[in-house]
């Protein structure tokens, strides 16, 4: 497995979709890039003609499930899925069992990620102890641990208490942290099952109103401005949320936001099958929302794509809608979905895809060695992607331990051919290296 020290020459790849060039990787860094770059003797050659080279993707929002729900995913399987999706770093959300609310748990997750070796695992710390929403977790201890936690989130639950949210935003300023909010007003979403709208009325499922997300985002933007701290908004799903974030950014406030691949492609009419593979938090919204999210990602109002990869075992999805678990897998399909929703529609070029899926999430997550440009001297984190193929998604072939992909059976463009993590291939020929 260890290829450190191996020199690679990647021939004819198109960096950021541009003109073909050769990329030389020496040790863990890119040493040369350009047309006809001279390969040192003994270099391993990889024919990449027709493939696009992008910096390794960075996911701000992944549920790796370990510790606690190793039946759904482990750090080994989840990070392998990430590598196969073109990722070189993922942020592991804190809602494990035990919750990642101490230096000990976050360090353990970080170490398991290093041992697995498929991509970097950056633990996210909980905002409140046990995600219970009553008292702050020890941010400082997590920040100073080996895991160097900078992003804190109770994701899966909203920090709904305004005072607690204010204090969290203030406190993390001491070490340049960021609070990633799961915006969901709890009272407005009691028993909620799907987006509240035409489809929920017809299907007799309790509605999850857009305002439950938007009200919390508006409040938190104002709080972040008041204490001059950094707020990141997880999985933005409504057109109204986009408007509020656009307004907050126009004020110069330190607000960033992410959108998931599934919210860029899927709509709530899919729920008519009552198949819980479409059950997710926040719920799938309408075509109007999808269009607004795409535009916002294109114009930069939404900073980045984050998968919210949420694996669940079969028995938690093969049920009636109301009792099924929320969440969808996404690591292995993210780039393909972004091509379908954003690139093939003309909304984003590949250089902007690199920005939204690598540079910006790395900056928001305070990851130094990730999200860097494809340039000499930079860490050799990169993905080679073939945009010209089209294939049906079959979750049975996924490396993730779970099969709850909402894209199952859909035909999507593209294939991740190779992924390099600091010069070492984690994926070659579309398979684990």
């Amino acid at each position: 497995m260890t290829a450190e020290g191996t020199t690679w020459v990647i021939k004819g790849a198109r960096p950021l979709g541009g003109e073909p060039a050769d990329i030389i990787i020496t040790d863990a860094a890119i040493s040369e890039i350009g047309p006809g770059a001279t390969a040192p003797r003994g270099a391993q050659a990889l024919d990449a003609s027709g493939l696009i080279a992008l910096p390794g993707l960075v996911d701000l929002h992944t549920h790796l499930r370990e510790p606690g729900r190793e039946d759904a995913e482990t750090i080994e399987t989840g990070t392998l899925a990430a590598a196969l999706g073109g990722f070189t770093a993922v942020h592991a959300m804190a809602n494990t069992d035990p919750v990642a609310d101490t230096a000990g748990v976050t360090e353990q997750i970080w170490r398991l990620g290093r041992a697995a070796g498929h991509c970097d695992v950056q633990p996210v710390g909980a905002v409140t102890v046990g995600l219970a929403g009553s008292r702050l977790a020890e941010f400082g201890a997590m920040a100073e641990s080996a895991a160097r936690v900078r992003v804190f989130s109770d994701d899966g639950r909203c920090v709904s208490d305004a005072v607690l949210m204010r204090r969290a935003l203030e406190y993390v300023k001491a070490f340049d942290g960021v609070i990633a909010q799961h915006a969901q007003e709890p009272r407005l979403t009691e028993g909620a099952q799907m987006n509240e709208g035409v489809a929920s009325g017809r299907l007799g499922l309790a509605g999850w109103p857009a305002v439950a997300e938007e009200a919390v985002i508006a409040r938190d933007c104002l709080l972040a401005a008041h204490v001059d701290s950094a707020l990141h908004i997880c999985h933005v799903s409504t057109a109204g949320s986009v408007e509020i974030i656009r307004w907050a950014k126009s004020k110069g406030w330190r607000v960033t936001a992410e959108v998931t691949p599934h919210h860029l492609l899927l709509t709530d009419d899919l729920v008519a099958s009552y198949d819980p593979v479409y059950k997710v938090n926040p719920p799938l919204r309408t075509a109007t929302d999808v269009a607004a999210l795409r535009d916002a990602l294109a114009d930069g109002t939404i900073d980045c794509v984050a998968t919210d990869h949420a694996p669940h075992p079969v028995e938690d999805k093969e049920t009636e809608w109301a009792v099924a678990a929320h969440g969808m897998t996404g690591l292995e399909t993210a780039l393909r979905v972004v091509q379908e929703a954003m690139v093939d529609t003309g909304l984003l070029g590949w250089a902007q895809v690199a920005d939204r899926m690598s540079a910006r999430p790395a900056a928001i997550g305070r990851l130094g060695g990730q999200g860097r440009p494809l340039a000499p001297g930079e860490p050799a984190n990169l993905v080679l992607y073939n945009p010209a193929t089209r294939e049906t998604v079959d979750p049975a072939t996924h490396a993730s331990r779970s099969r709850n992909s909402p894209f199952a059976g859909m035909t999507l463009p593209g294939q991740v051919v190779a992924t390099f993590l600091r010069g070492r291939p984690t994926v070659l020929d579309g398979k684990p290296a």
Partner: protein, 312 residues
């Protein structure tokens, strides 16, 4: 006809009329001294009830037994489901027992549709969450058609039906809006704004908040049950206020056209959505609805289980 009956919206007008006409024919069995036909002898009908509903369960049971089917009642309380068995495992168990039809009542919207993916036999939705209750709508259509003297092959064209109450949570309302519209009736919904879905524009009906304005334009007024739990969740300020604004009392009945009828799917809250005098008045079809329920469910079982001719 489809193999399953999950939603009234899945029916064609032709299917719906076939069910009503067949029910009319089968209703005559109820007038005989021996109320039984051999049509479904040897077939097994399972009543799978995840929610208490004695009325619907015994209606289906009577319907199946009058057609000579073997009936198995599978109630959830005290069964393996209460011990954590999944819907799928319950389905596989019923499949292994050779159920030809499964009549399912469930508190979760969509449960019958999920079940139909795992069963070879027919699934009949006997009420799922706030989604649909198609046999209730069919028996309501049957009752309206009879009361207005329309016969075989005739639909409900021109009749004005007003449905009043908790539309938001009502599976009866959802099935009726689609079925009655399909059959040519003009459907109007009347409810406080809190008890209507927020987006209802694409439903084939009109919507208003004013019961008194709707009554003079109604040939049929269908009162929905107000559930106890709504009373404590701020859907309306108090039961008395609800009753004053949306209850059908004798004064309001006076605003109805002379031959208009009053319906209720039961069970009623007398004195809340409907006054006792109105429930017991000659306009009321509430008892007929129960009797008609058996005929309509016989027709559904008969048609779904592939009976060809009604035995004489």
């Amino acid at each position: 006809m489809n193999r399953h009956l999950i939603s009234a919206a899945d029916l064609s007008k032709q299917d719906a009329l076939l069910i009503l006409d067949t029910a009319e024919e089968l209703a005559q069995v109820a007038d005989r001294p021996i109320k039984k036909l051999p049509t479904l002898r040897g077939r097994t009908v399972v009543n799978l009830f995840f929610e208490d509903s004695t009325r619907t369960r015994i209606s289906f049971e009577a319907a199946a037994k009058r057609l000579s089917a073997d009936v198995i009642n599978f109630a959830v309380k005290g069964s393996s489901v209460a011990k954590g068995e999944s819907l799928k495992d319950t389905a596989l168990t019923l499949e292994a027992m050779g159920a030809d039809a499964v009549v399912v009542r469930h508190s979760a919207s969509g449960a019958p549709l999920r079940l139909s993916n795992w069963l070879r036999g027919s699934v009949i939705n006997a009420g799922d969450g706030s989604h649909e209750h198609p046999t209730q709508a069919l028996l309501d259509a049957f009752t309206i058609r009879r009361r207005f003297g329309r016969g075989d092959g005739e639909a409900l064209d021109g009749l004005r039906v007003t449905i009043v109450g908790d539309v938001l949570h009502s599976r009866v309302a959802r099935s009726n809006v689609w079925l009655l519209h399909l059959l040519g009736a003009e459907v109007a919904l009347v409810a406080p704004p809190t008890l209507l879905p927020v987006a209802i524009d694409d439903w084939p009906c009109s919507v208003s908040y004013d019961l008194d304005a709707a009554l003079p334009k109604s040939d049929v007024v269908m009162m929905l049950r107000i559930q106890q739990e709504r009373m404590n969740a701020a859907y309306f300020p108090s039961v008395r206020e609800y009753s004053r604004r949306y209850g059908l009392d004798t004064a309001r009945v006076g605003q109805l056209p002379e031959d208009a009828i009053v319906m209720h799917p039961g069970p009623m809250n007398r004195g809340v959505e409907i006054a006792a005098e109105v429930a017991d008045s000659p306009r009321s079809t509430i008892v007929e609805q129960v009797a008609n329920g058996v005929s309509v469910r016989m027709a559904v079982l008969y048609l779904l289980l592939g009976g060809r001719e009604v035995a004489q």
